[in-house]
Amino acid sequence: MSGSVSRSGSRPPTLGGRKERLDALAATAADGPGDAGVSLAASAWRRLRRNPVFLLGAAIIVLFVVVALLSPWLAAHDPTARLLEGQVSRARNEIPAAQEGFPLGGDQVGRDLLSRLLVGSQQTLMVGVFATVIGLAGGLLLGTVAGALGGWVDSLVMRVVDVMLSIPSLLLAFSIGALFPSPSQFTVILAVATVQIPIFARLLRGSMLAQRGSDHVLAARALGVRPRAIVFRHMLPNSLGPVIVQATLVLAVAIIDAAALSFLGLGNPDDSIPEWGQMLGGAQNVIDSHPNLAFWPAGCIIIVALGFTLVGESLRDALDPKNRR
């Protein structure tokens, strides 16, 4: 553990907060591909393979994805069936306890908790992936346009991004979520994704700007490569590293933010198909008497978020040209 953890210390001076950190991260892309005979990706992979932090995080993610894919077969019961409904009593505040065939007991309406947790991984994975993809797509568009065109377009886009960043992130998600007449899984994803757009935009724009004056872009321009091809073939691929790092970290944030939205009553109200954040948010009314209903989904969220964070952080260190040896 120690060897890998300490490596993160020799990161470039992370001067500043979110904006500055994004720009610093973006700048790591500007160095362009392989200058020491080994490509950055190859040398990064060589270090990652031996990094226990990365391996632990990757193991968590792989397990999570496998469970999500296989959950229909892993779950012993139908997650929507109220099999233990007879043991639920709202008046006496009773919720089915663990019993034969139901190792974790039932939820507020008598559905098998373990099956719901297993199947819930699917929706949780979906929320995380879609929110990240939408946020990335939006940021990619804004950031590339701003960074590639420069001038007044750049100024305009970045002012919009600055205004978006000046609102605390959850408040923004909260605002977007409130924009729809009735919340659903889709609005949750959209709300969480919107928060990520300015972050990705800033990251990509910084990376684009750093590359505009770099040698490999200059060389391509001198060779007469069309501007569009320069952007898509030369500049964008070089920005991929920091973008992948950020996307991995965002996956964790998206899952946590989705849970927060559920907690604030802006989650998907239809709970027939389970999702961890929604299960956690929905358990808030019974948490004092039945904390296990919150603990299980919360535990799953924490472990998965940790997995993505570990991979993101170790990727960041590995892709940092400063750490190449």
């Binding site: 553990m1 020799s10 500043g16 205004v163 408040l171 604030l264």
Partner: protein
């Protein structure tokens, strides 16, 4: 320096103006609206029309915004329609602002008090047990949903153990004198020690929940910054000059490492309001966060407009203070 400050303040005016326009239009695009929220489903068509006209919502949005801006310049942000109906928005803000400030200050103080020394020690003993524990802890810290941690703390220390109060800002029935609206400060000023202690006890759990993420971030930035500085040539020079370790640490290492840390503290302070929305809800803490959540639920335009604009302003101002504090910490910035 002065010109820089003025330019930044001018920029702030621009951001606030644009933001106020966006918020204004966007709030009115929300489904529902104050009329439905006030009258519910039962309101007759006539009553709805009357109330709409009364709130001025029947006019074109540009006219509404013009009026809003005109009144806002003279300090009138309209009357609340849902959070505390009838009270002026600014009154609600002033009443709740101290609560959130108190909570945020305690949270950020906790985060700084633990984050910087631990981050420094972790960097000094890199690879040691404290370092590993701190790094793992800070990674887990950001993976735990804030509201769940708040629940956990409340469940453990308030419900199960009963050591600390579970909700609110002050125990009911305690006859405390109000001076500033900051309850702890009030207690100290009026020498009502029991009131101050009671208010502080109410702050501990929510502040702990709110402090986790800033703590984790400050810890990691401090650690990374100190590690960076320890590698610098001037530290080696100082060592070879024969300066004592304590002088090197104080003057060379800590001072240089503080730059990114201060920025982080600023950003985290600004972002606290988002966490406060969640924490205040769990602990039924009557601050801005609670008003915001309630404002959304009841579509209280005046309150929401004011709160969101204020939140953004605080965020931008805090970061301005941070940028200015560079000049104090780092003389190189001053000459620029």
């Amino acid at each position: 320096m002065l010109r820089y400050t003025l330019r930044r303040l001018l920029q702030l005016v621009g951001v606030v103006l644009v933001l106020s326009m966006l918020i204004f239009g966007w709030l009115r695009a929300l489904p529902g609206g104050p009329v439905s929220a006030l009258l519910g489903e039962r309101g007759t068509e006539e009553a709805r029309r009357e109330l709409t006209a009364q709130l001025g919502l029947d006019q074109p949005i540009f006219v509404q915004y013009g009026k809003f801006l005109g009144r806002a310049l003279s300090g009138d942000f309209g009357a609340s329609t849902g959070v505390q109906p009838g009270d002026s928005a600014i009154e609600i803000f002033l009443q709740r602002f101290p609560a959130t400030v108190e909570l945020s200050v305690v949270a950020i103080v906790l985060a700084v008090l633990f984050g910087i020394p631990l981050g420094y020690l972790a960097a000094r003993r890199r690879g040691g047990w404290l370092d590993n524990l701190g790094v793992v802890g800070s990674l887990v810290g950001v993976a735990v949903p804030v509201f769940f941690l708040a629940f956990l703390l409340k469940y453990l220390f308030a419900v199960q153990l009963g050591w600390l109060p579970a909700s609110g800002r002050q125990t009911g029935g305690l006859d405390a004198t109000r001076v500033t609206g900051f309850f702890v400060l009030d207690g100290l000023l009026t020498r009502e020690w029991d009131a101050a202690a009671d208010a502080l006890a109410h702050l501990v759990l929510p502040a702990m929940a709110l402090a986790t993420i800033p703590f984790a971030v400050i810890f990691r930035i401090t650690r990374a910054a100190v590690l960076d500085v320890l590698d610098e040539d001037y530290v080696r020079t100082a060592e070879s000059k024969g300066l004592t370790t304590s002088v090197i640490r104080r003057r060379h290492v800590l001072r240089n490492a503080m730059l990114p840390v201060v920025t982080t503290i600023g950003l985290q302070t600004g972002a606290l309001l988002a966490g406060a929305v969640l924490t205040e809800k769990v602990f039924a803490f009557p601050g801005l966060g609670e008003a915001l959540a309630l404002g959304f639920e009841r579509r209280d335009y005046p309150v929401l407009q004011l709160m969101i604009i204020m939140a953004a302003m605080v965020y931008v101002l805090v970061n301005l203070v941070v940028d200015l504090s560079y000049a104090v910490i780092d003389p190189r910035v001053r000459t620029r």
